[in-house]
Symmetry: C2
Subunit: 119 residues, 2 copies
């Protein structure tokens, strides 16, 4: 069920490299990688789980409400992370020239569907 949702998001996002549904423990529930890519999605997911844990902690200390979205832009990649629940989040990785706005929009649009599929 969430497999199809993830694959659709990846295909609809121009420049999409990979997508992972993850737990904060760093364990991926489901991953999809665009065919031509050679990215270590597992390593990427684990590293972003650590980042997300730190952001979550900061957000709790600052009392600024539920963490919804985190994005990271580096020279080579754009990463969009959307929190789904206290336990799960989804990470979408794009090439540096990928469609950042579309990625954010699709994750926001499909977050309720993913949440439902997880419960």
């Amino acid at each position: 069920m969430f497999s199809d949702i993830l694959q659709d998001i990846l295909q609809e996002t121009s420049g999409g490299i990979g997508i992972s549904l993850m737990g904060y423990d760093g364990i991926a529930i489901e991953q999809h990688l665009a065919e031509y890519e050679a990215v270590d999605l597992q390593l990427l997911a684990v590293e972003y789980a650590n980042v997300l844990k730190e952001v979550k902690r900061a957000v709790e200390v600052l009392d600024t409400g539920f963490m919804e979205e985190v994005t990271v832009k580096t020279e080579k990649f754009l990463v969009v992370v959307r929190a789904l629940s206290e336990e799960y989040f989804v990470v979408l990785t794009l090439t540096g020239d990928g469609n950042f706005g579309k990625a954010r929009y699709l994750l926001m649009r499909d977050a309720p569907k993913l949440r439902e599929a997880l419960s």
Copy 2:
């Protein structure tokens, strides 16, 4: 010098609450807060320094090139962070309905000026 640049960015960004020029050690070099706001910018800056350190570490492990920008969206706030150098970054905080695109654009536009002012 960087005081004026920071103040201009804050004023030009609709929904801008505060802006800080920070070191990764969590110490602010310069901060401005919109007049009507009662946010603990010092605490926010320290917490985001921790987040940025974790992102920087992840980006180095993943070898995805220089970290350029990190954004965090929570229920109440939007935070845009732009890395300036190995030591410094700038944090712009907006209300949840603030102009996210403008904030990203202004920080990108003025990053070279801030870098120059710091050196």
